[in-house]
């Protein structure tokens, strides 16, 4: 059965449902406001997240699907770009409701690195120094590290994307002091990603070498 838009509603709005609110928060905080739905026939439908409610993200396609109406039960892929990865989950189209076409998504996502600098998952002590009006030092732990940035978790903070900070990273052989900008943060402040800014070549080389040697030791 081909899906038809509910009366009075455009066929380009999706209700992208994740298993829980934390998953939806992660997609929104790490992926920003853009999703891409890949339909059964390979058609890519870029969409903008226009709102959220609990475990559901409301997304609006950039173009009309009137010419290629998807069917109920169709398998789709929902993907989004993160700091250094392309993340995606499988989904199934439901029957259209008054607010749009529901897409029931699986979890967790698979991720493919799209960076030129490799990343490795590793827990290291790190600190974030906020240098703004009220200087503050936040204790965090790395989740993964690359020569371009790192993701971190720690106690809650109100760091926002775009804020300039200084990170201090404790590698086994030395400490690095690296200016960075917050790229994403979870709403509850429990995790965030930073991108290094104006990192010196020698510091970046040192991080890259650490990633390579850590991966080699695990192989």
């Amino acid at each position: 059965m081909a899906l038809r838009p509910p009366p009075g509603h455009a066929p380009t709005r999706f209700l992208v449902r994740f298993p829980d609110e934390a998953a939806a928060d992660e997609v929104r905080s790490r992926g920003g406001a853009r999703l891409t739905l890949v339909l059964e026939d390979g058609t890519e439908v870029p969409a903008v997240v226009v709102g959220s409610s609990g475990a559901t993200l409301r997304a609006e396609a950039d173009r009309s699907l009137a010419g290629t109406p998807p069917r109920v039960g169709a398998e789709v892929t929902v993907s989004w770009a993160e700091l250094d990865d392309l993340a995606s989950v499988g989904g199934t189209l439901g029957s259209g409701g008054v607010d749009g076409l529901p897409v029931e998504c699986s979890w967790p996502p698979s991720r493919v690195q799209r960076r030129s600098l490799r990343r490795c998952a590793v827990q290291l002590p790190a600190w974030i120094v906020r240098t703004g009006q009220v200087p503050e030092v936040l204790e965090v732990t790395t989740r993964d590290v690359s020569g371009g940035g790192m993701s971190l978790h720690g106690r809650g903070s109100d760091l926002s994307p775009g804020e300039h900070v200084v990170t201090m990273l404790r590698l086994p052989d030395r400490d690095l002091v690296l200016p960075a900008v917050v790229h994403w943060s979870r709403p509850d402040g429990s995790a965030l990603g930073v991108r290094f800014e104006r990192i010196s070549q020698s510091d970046q080389d040192h991080v890259v070498q650490f990633v390579i040697s850590t991966e080699a030791a695990r192989a």
Partner: protein, 97 residues
């Protein structure tokens, strides 16, 4: 310029945070008087935040030589400003007078 400073370096057990005053500054570095000296264990460069009176200016600093780390009057060499903005330009111009 207000001249209050905050210095953060990595110590053996975590960040060491010190407050103090800016004694003199130049484009390449400055001297600060800390309320409490760093330990000789400080092993990294750090971050110096200066209250300029109009805002705050942050600089990355080179590692403190062990010979200096026990002194409250501490020379610091700048590696780079965290943001090379108008506040940095004003600091450099002011330091050059």
């Amino acid at each position: 310029m207000n001249g209050d400073v905050l210095l953060v370096v990595a110590g053996p057990d975590g960040p060491e945070v010190r407050t103090g005053r800016l004694l003199e500054g130049a484009e390449g570095g400055c001297e600060v008087r800390l309320e409490r000296a760093l330990g000789a264990q400080a092993r990294s460069g750090g971050v110096l935040v200066v209250d300029t009176g109009e805002g705050r200016l942050a600089m990355l600093t080179a590692p403190v030589p062990p010979a200096d780390a026990g002194s409250q009057d501490l020379p610091l060499r700048f590696v780079q400003p965290v943001e090379r903005d108008d506040a940095w330009e004003r600091f450099v111009r002011g330091a050059g007078r």
